[in-house]
Structures are given as C-alpha cells and as structure tokens.
Assembly symmetry: C2
Homo-oligomer: 345 residues x 2
DNA sequence: GTGAAAGCGCTAACAG
DNA sequence: CTGTTAGCGCTTTCAC
C-alpha cells in the first residue's frame, strides 16, 4: 500500500478555471453532445492548462459501474497460457476495459484470494481459467454477487453455471490417436497431465474411444500421468521405457509434455519420429520449430481468449441469457514427430 | 464499460447490524488494535452474516492511497518477457499490490494510452519496459504527477530520470563474442534486433569491443538487423548466406532470433553447432531444449522482475532518494550450438 | 474505546 | 444548455 498522498487536479478546479459548473465540466469530460462548442472548448482548454487527469475510480464509485475486469490465469510459463493471455488481453483492451491480472499457480487458495481481491476492487466481470478444486463458497459468493464470470480453457467448475469457452478436448484426443493408428501403431501410451483435471479426462476419453473403435484393448499401464512440464514429460517417458512391452507411440497431454518426452527419448538414444511416434496437444509456437517438428492438435489459444473476452463483454452489457458453452473444434497438425513425412504448414 | 448497477453490502449496514457506528466497523475491518474484543467479534459476525465485501476502491479514494500498480510490458510472445512478467507479478503480489496489466506491442501511442489509463485508475506506481520513442509529454506528465516509475529490461527513456533495473548488455555481448573468438572464429556476424533500441546498441557495443580487442576489423556487412522474432532471425540468416564472404559464427540479438536463425540454417542444409557457431542472448527456458542446445548469455528475466518490484515497493513507501540503476551481471551458458562439446548445466 | 460529521472526486437528478 | 443539490462507500478528524 502506497503511503503517498497525492494532490490531484479536480474537476471542480477545472470548472472554476473555465468559469463553468462542475456538472458542466463533467459533461464535457464524458463527451456529452449537449454542450455548446464554446463551453467545451473553454473546459478542454482549462483541463490542458491544469494538467487534469480524469479520476475513473471516483467516477466508477459514483456511477456504480466498472471499467475493469479481472483476468485469472493458472500459470504463465506454459506458452499455451501466455498465448491465451495475449488473446484475452488484447480483446478486452479493445473493448476499453482495464485488466487486473492474477495468477493462481494452480493453487485453489490463491484463486480464492484473487477473486476476493478482485471483488474488493470492483471489477465488473471476471475471466478465468479455473483451478481444479475451486472452493464451493467462493462460487456461491460469485453467484450471489452476480458478477459475470466467463471460464476458459478448463471447465473445472460445475458445468452449466457459468459461460465457458474451450475446445473439444475429447475430439482432439480422438484425432491424435486416430492419426497414430493410421500410422500402424497399436500400442499407444497417453502420457503427462493430471488425472484430476477435466481436460485430462476429456483427452483421455478421446484416446480411449479411438482405441476402442479400432478394436484395441485398453492397457492402463500405458497411462502415465505426470506434472504438466517438460520435466514431467521426461520422467514419464523414462518410466515408460522400463515397461516390459513398451509402446510404439506416445500421445502427450500437451506440447510441453511432448517436448520433455522427446528430450527424454533422445537421452536414451531413441529418435522421436523414427523409432517412436509422438503427438502433442495445443500447437504452441515452438512445436513447429522443435526437432523433430511436433505433430500436434491445434487448440487455438488466442482464439479462445478472444472469444472469452467477447462473451464477457456481452454479459457486462446486460446479456442475461442462460450460460453458454462455446466449444471450438481442434485441428490435427501433422509434422515429423509422428513419423509421417507429410508436412502441413 | 459495464452497465450493471450492483448493490453492495456497505459498512454502514454492517455497523447497524452489529449495533455500532460506521467508524467503529471501519476500524475493525482494518484490524485496528484499539477495539475491544467483544465489539470486534460482533462486527466480524455481522460482516459474515451479511456477506460484506470490503470496497477497496472507495477506501482508496477517501484515504488518497493506492493499492494498485501498473505493469506495462512490450510483448508477451517472447518468452523472455513472459518470464519477466512472472517475476514482477509474483513479487508485487506478495507485497499485496493488485496489478493492472498493459501491453504496448512496442507502439509508443499504445504506451501513452496505457499510462493515461493507469493514471486514471489511480495506480500508486508503474513498472514498465519502455518502448523506443516514448513521448516527451508523457514523461513530463509522469514526473509532474510524481508517481514512482521503475523501468526494467530496457532503458529507452532519458537516463537518470527513473529507476532502472536491467542487465549489462554490453558485457553480455562481449562475453558472447569472446566465447566465439576462443572457438577460433574470426568472421562473426551480429544478427537480429532493431538498431534503434538501446538494448541492441549495448549488445552491439560489446560485440564491437570484443572484436576490436582481438584486433579484428569491423565489417558492417556482418551486421544484419531484423524483426525480433524467429521469422526475423530466419530471414537475416538467409540474407547473410548470400554474402560473398560469409561468417563462421553468429551472435544473435536474442534467443528467439537465434532459434529462427538455426531454423534457417537447417533449411539450407547447414548444421548449427558443427558448420557454424550460434550464440543467443537471454537464456529463456527453451534454449536448453532446442536442437542443438543453444549457447547463450543468461539475462535472468525473473530476477530482473523481482528486483523491479522490490524497487517500486520502496519508492511507494516513500523512498525519495535519487534514481537508481541496478545492473545485473549476465552469465555465459555454453551449450552445443557454439560448437563446444562442454555442456554447462 | 466509540460515535458524529465532514469530505475524497465524481455523476445523477432535477431545476432553470 | 447550464447550475444546484445530494450522495457513491469509505476514512478521518475530533469529540465524548
């Protein structure tokens, strides 16, 4: 908390300087059309001379509106999320909102704390990627408070209560595995990620479904969860290599895990894309540049972010219709890590 | 701007419910010690029952303090900046500040607009990575307004006017080039980045100095600026390959450019780390995982961010000493892209 | 220790 | 078109 007390030039002073009333000056500031050209000019002049800065906080307090929105993200070190952030942020910015940023690092307490802080700061709405295990109290409070909340990228919260923007993770998982099946693979592992998360469950369903459709029996020993990091992927692969009957292909929870996995493979002298096929998920920028370039399922983070911003904007403008789920379709991007020779750009 | 008008539970209501005055309730909320245990309990109880949420905005307005700080970053798609963001954000958060985020995309007008918005939102201070060509007016206004501003990562603004945290780019450039010289290279190009930027100039000075010290004549045709992106690095390399007397080593403006450059080289059948040496700058996470792993100059983004946050905090607490420059020392991280066989971890 | 009154900088309603 | 009055939710004197 800052200790400085600052003296602001107030509208009052501007008004006095321009020889009008405070109310008139207020109208000018807000660009009301019902002001004579001359008065406006006088006031604008006075503002400039005095170095007036509009006090949006005071204005919001008085008018009971808000020009800020809260943006809660889980982690920034995964490029998927920073791309997401770019998308939302840019869109919100364009709508004229000021964004208050919060990072949960995937900790529920942190998320609760951030939501509280944001309420205290009178945000007009919140866009968030929820952590698994979000406290019920907090949700209840949000609902009571009835400030619009848009979820994105993950839907850990009870479905149907809030708007949600995300991609079809199940379809994505299916696509990835079908691609591997087409490549002739029969033993396909699903590695990385946390089984508690809704996203993991969805991708895993897609995986299972594709295998089932191909008449392949599920082998739970090929399910190797891990931290959602490079290191996690690396460890998962090492464990998998101990397997008596190891897989010939890996479907990775996401691209970051896939990078880690490929790193681990290389360390063991196994060449991804030749000795073993690897598919990721997200299509973050690096995936095109990794060696070998990563075959992956594109999840369009920036697009998701932009949609989420748009949805929140509508809610904040009064749209009170039932919560809406917007599900984008993922796309398979075939590169070399899955052993195919085609290159799709 | 949200249209919703919300009804908040006010302190007044809490006070009434608890049978005390508003002032007393206020003291309780802020944890004043001069309150009897009993009264406190009553008030806390009332707060809970009514679902009271503290209105920090109203409080700040009245007390003329601020609990928010503005954080202005230039681009998020470069991991260097997202790592920087993590560092600052986390530190600010720990000090109890709420952060308002802005992205300039390296456009001066955008930066001006963001600063204005932040002033309007009564931020108590600003941490920013300035764009080249920051308007003089804005600076003047900031100074007049006299809200603490801490610059980081880049110092485009007139030196000595604001606090600055960064690394020694010149030393970094020198280290990179000296390393290449030790590898026996004589024709070393400096590619990527924008010559207008202070960072570019500093790295370039280090480059020149190292060459001069080695008695090598500068060859300006080996200076190939570009967009600070992978694509930029890729294009720069392609251009350089047309050179009648091409370099045997590349010092890249930063890691992202280096990745692009290596990509471009591979496309031409040239193997970085064997046929040509490549050194980057920043040491972002990916650089350890690229193929070949990138030799680079570590710039410690998270550390810079944390320092910047700390510095701002002190200013906001009233430290009025002269502007301070904090320059961290970079470190060379040798990996395979520069042709050495040692691996430093 | 607690209460009453004033006011942060602005907007909203209503007069004129 | 412009001015007057009231008050957003809180903190801050200053009494008691």
């Amino acid at each position: 908390m800052s200790d400085k007390k600052r003296s602001r030039v107030t509208l009052e002073q501007v008004a006095k300087h321009a020889g009008v009333s405070r109310a008139t000056a207020s109208l000018v500031v807000r660009g009301s059309p019902n002001i004579s050209k001359e008065t406006r000019k006088k006031v604008l002049q006075a503002m400039k001379e005095l170095g007036y800065v509009y006090d949006r906080v005071a204005a919001n307090l008085r008018s009971q509106r808000s020009s800020t929105v809260g943006l809660i993200i889980t982690e920034l070190d995964n490029p998927f999320f920073s791309e997401l952030l770019v998308g939302v942020h840019e869109a919100l910015d364009q709508e004229g909102y000021t964004v208050i940023l919060g990072t949960t690092f995937d900790r529920p307490e942190k998320q609760d704390a951030l939501l509280s802080t944001m309420l205290e700061h009178r945000v007009g709405g919140v866009i968030m990627s929820p952590v698994p295990g979000c406290s019920a109290e907090m949700l209840e409070q949000l609902r009571q408070w009835d400030i619009p909340v848009v979820l994105f990228a993950r839907d850990e919260l009870p479905a149907g209560q809030f708007d949600y923007i995300g991609i079809d993770n199940m379809a994505g998982g299916r696509m990835a595995v079908e691609h591997l099946l087409e490549g002739g693979h029969r033993r396909i592992a699903f590695i990385g990620g946390s089984p508690q998360s809704s996203v993991w469950k969805a991708r895993r369903s897609g995986y299972s479904e594709a295998l089932r459709a191909a008449g392949i029996e599920m082998d739970d020993t090929l399910l190797v969860p891990s931290a959602t990091t490079r290191q996690g992927g690396r460890m998962a692969v090492k464990r998998l290599l101990q397997h008596p009957n190891p897989p010939t292909a890996l479907f990775c929870y996401n691209d970051v895990v896939a990078f880690g996995a490929m790193l681990g493979l290389k360390e063991e002298g196994i060449v991804p894309g030749r000795d073993i096929a690897v598919v990721g998920f997200d299509n973050i920028q690096e995936s095109a540049l990794f060696q070998p370039p990563l075959t992956t399922v594109a999840a369009f983070p920036e697009k998701i972010g932009a949609y989420a911003a748009k949805q929140l904007h509508e809610r904040m403008r009064g749209d009170a219709s039932a919560p809406k789920r917007t599900i984008l379709q993922p796309e398979l991007v075939i590169r070399q890590s899955s052993g195919k020779r085609e290159e799709k750009r």
